[in-house]
Symmetry: none
Subunit: 401 residues, 2 copies
């Protein structure tokens, strides 16, 4: 279903929708007893919601596809990530909460090493340390060129973000300069259409200056550009679902994805209790609240089954305080699976529960992967969840007469 088709059905209501995301929630069974992290966790409050609500599994992108955090969250917000693909430059800029403006062009950049012939000898400048590279980024941030403001923000090790703010709107359809291999010169900046020629020229100018400035530095003597992209022109979340929305997260990346869709964003400190107080504070002002809990994903990436169990239990403890605020519909799920046995994001479907609103109940008495597989919703696409939540909150009118 297209977003404009949903937007045509969105209707006003005083019902509120709460989306609780446990990042990387889905897991895989441990050998000892065949339980996943979520199943091993003692979660009386989530189980209670599962009992009073309905359950299922979703795949955020597509069956068999491992989602990145950006696509995973877009799906939860109702945007099909296969249709709404974001440029990597923009995602990196969002990840550090760079305040992108509508005409900005964002680029992922790497420090690299060129040999005396101008050929790339190391695409990552020997994975130069953050300590050594951050001052180089600061130096590049001082570059001024004609036709655009330029910003450089250091990320980690050899990576940084370059943002161009051109004097007039230009396209972002520009190829990478990273050839993906060593022993050759960096590619020239090549525009893919006429509208992007200015962007290519600006980036080319910037690169020339950067090369001059880096020439006498140690550690790296050039930069490679990838994922040149502009802010996408997507329908705003509030226009699609007719709900004023807020993203509450400690991590900038997740606030960034919310902002990309026109949501308000609220920064919180780590710790589950901070999300409770922010939800309480903002409850009245918004129709849709997205609360992001990063800890399960981190524990999964670290391969720490027990810690993932523990942080899931921490979230469980605050569930009553959230639900007692009175959202009409509460949706609890993850943006992807991060099984601790894999130490990485994975393609495995993600459990979800929806509580509130009219529904045909299932027999689920426990929030977990196996229980959700037998839930009433079966296996659905992640981008369908938001429709389901809006429907149960009475916020979608009849389709057709």
């Amino acid at each position: 279903m297209r977003l404009d088709q949903i937007a045509a059905l969105a209707q006003g209501s005083d019902t509120k929708v709460l989306l609780i995301v446990l990042d990387g929630l889905g897991g895989l069974p441990r050998e000892s007893d065949g339980m996943t992290e979520l199943e091993a966790a003692d979660t009386p409050n989530l189980d209670e919601l599962a009992r009073g609500g309905t359950c299922g599994l979703h795949h955020p992108v597509a069956l068999g596809i491992t989602p990145g955090s950006g696509p995973g969250h877009l799906a939860l917000f109702g945007y099909d990530p296969l249709v709404y693909e974001t440029g990597r430059g923009v995602l990196e800029a969002l990840g550090i909460e760079f305040p992108l403006e509508s005409q900005d062009i964002a680029v992922r950049a790497n420090f690299c090493t060129l040999d005396s012939e101008g050929c790339i000898s190391d695409r990552r400048a020997g994975r130069i340390s953050t300590e050594a590279a951050a001052p180089l980024s600061e130096m590049l941030d001082e570059i001024r060129i004609e036709g655009a403001e330029c910003f450089v923000r250091h990320l980690k090790e050899h990576r940084f973000v370059l943002v161009l703010r051109p004097d007039a709107a230009t396209g972002a359809e520009v190829g990478d300069t990273d050839p993906g291999r060593t022993g050759v010169a960096p590619l020239i900046v090549r525009p893919r259409n006429e509208h992007s020629e200015t962007t290519a020229r600006l980036l080319d100018t910037w690169l020339k200056v950067a090369r001059e400035r880096l020439a006498d530095q140690s550690g790296a003597n050039m930069a490679l550009l990838r994922g040149v992209s502009g802010l996408p022109d997507w329908p705003r979340f509030d226009h699609v679902f007719g709900m004023r929305a807020v993203a509450v997260a400690a991590d900038p990346m997740y606030r960034g994805v919310g902002r990309l869709l026109g949501m308000d964003a609220v920064t919180v400190s780590d710790g589950v209790e901070n999300l409770v107080s922010e939800y309480r504070r903002t409850f009245k002002a918004f129709d849709f609240s997205f609360l992001h809990f990063k800890a399960p994903d981190k524990a999964g990436e670290d391969g720490d089954f027990d810690r993932k169990v523990a942080v899931i239990e921490e979230v469980d403890e605050i569930i009553p305080q959230l639900v007692d605020m009175g959202p009409a519909v509460t949706l609890v799920t993850g943006d992807h699976s991060t099984p601790s046995m894999l130490k990485s994001h994975s393609w495995h479907p993600v459990p979800f529960l929806i509580h509130g609103g009219s529904a045909r109940m299932d027999d689920t008495t426990r929030f977990g992967e196996t229980a959700c597989r037998n839930g009433v919703h079966g296996l659905i696409r992640g981008c369908e969840l938001m429709r389901l939540a809006a429907a149960r909150a009475g916020r979608l009118a009849k389709f057709g007469a």
Copy 2:
């Protein structure tokens, strides 16, 4: 998910994927005990794989749609048959393993009978026998026209394939000459776009000569053309999934579909043991091996429940020899159902099992339609299977940051 989106994620690995196709595998329950052919078969080895793997059902084209062999296999190779439609002419040519070249135009053709007015009195020339029609096809194969080489290959009864190899590339967007009814003249060859005008002219010339040559023959005095088509310009399988692939089959049709996607093709004699030795011989050289077993479909088409049971059991016996070769992921399924009670292909979903790679297990202990319905994968589209197999073999990178 588009194939270019999958191709962007394909990553190298030394894992191997084995696809075992039991043609027409799916069945319908017999009255005596409610068991399908697969369920009635004694298949200890497939059951073992089901127990250690995960199961589900797939519909190769779409719910309710009976697949032909071409679309059924395209789906198994990950190509949505609703998007990747092949012309019938090309499919017929593949079916007899005609070595099509890139500019070739392939046409399904029928012998027919015209009355003295030039109107069609029989669209199939009284279903003329193969014995009577094959010499006519050989005669037509000798036709030479200006602007293209022409090839005629007899199929069966009134049917043959005509292949044009034009001197220069021309389009295949040309209408049928078969009006679909008797009492009217054959349609003239009508191009649907400018690029196909030469093709229409060439076919028109060929038809004029064919009519002259057939005039004094008995049995048929004209030919009707349908399904004019050229080789499709589709992404190659190895480019999409990053796996060198081989199709091992006794029947030319199935090698043909593999070749259409750029796979290598290996001819084997009938008999399950020949597929084992070919798999052993080619195991190292390929990342993806497709082994095709035709017998279940033939038994189903013949309405022979017991023979279908027996040939499924024959395949079961060699399963250990195949799996012991060491594929990381083994996928066992059919390209469609051929219930012996229907004596034909049918729309019923097809059971599948996937073995190997990380997965949440289901309780399946038996490979069969009913067991697969309760499997962890539920009912999915056939073209999703390949993604699932690639994911489990660790061959798909994360989508987005």
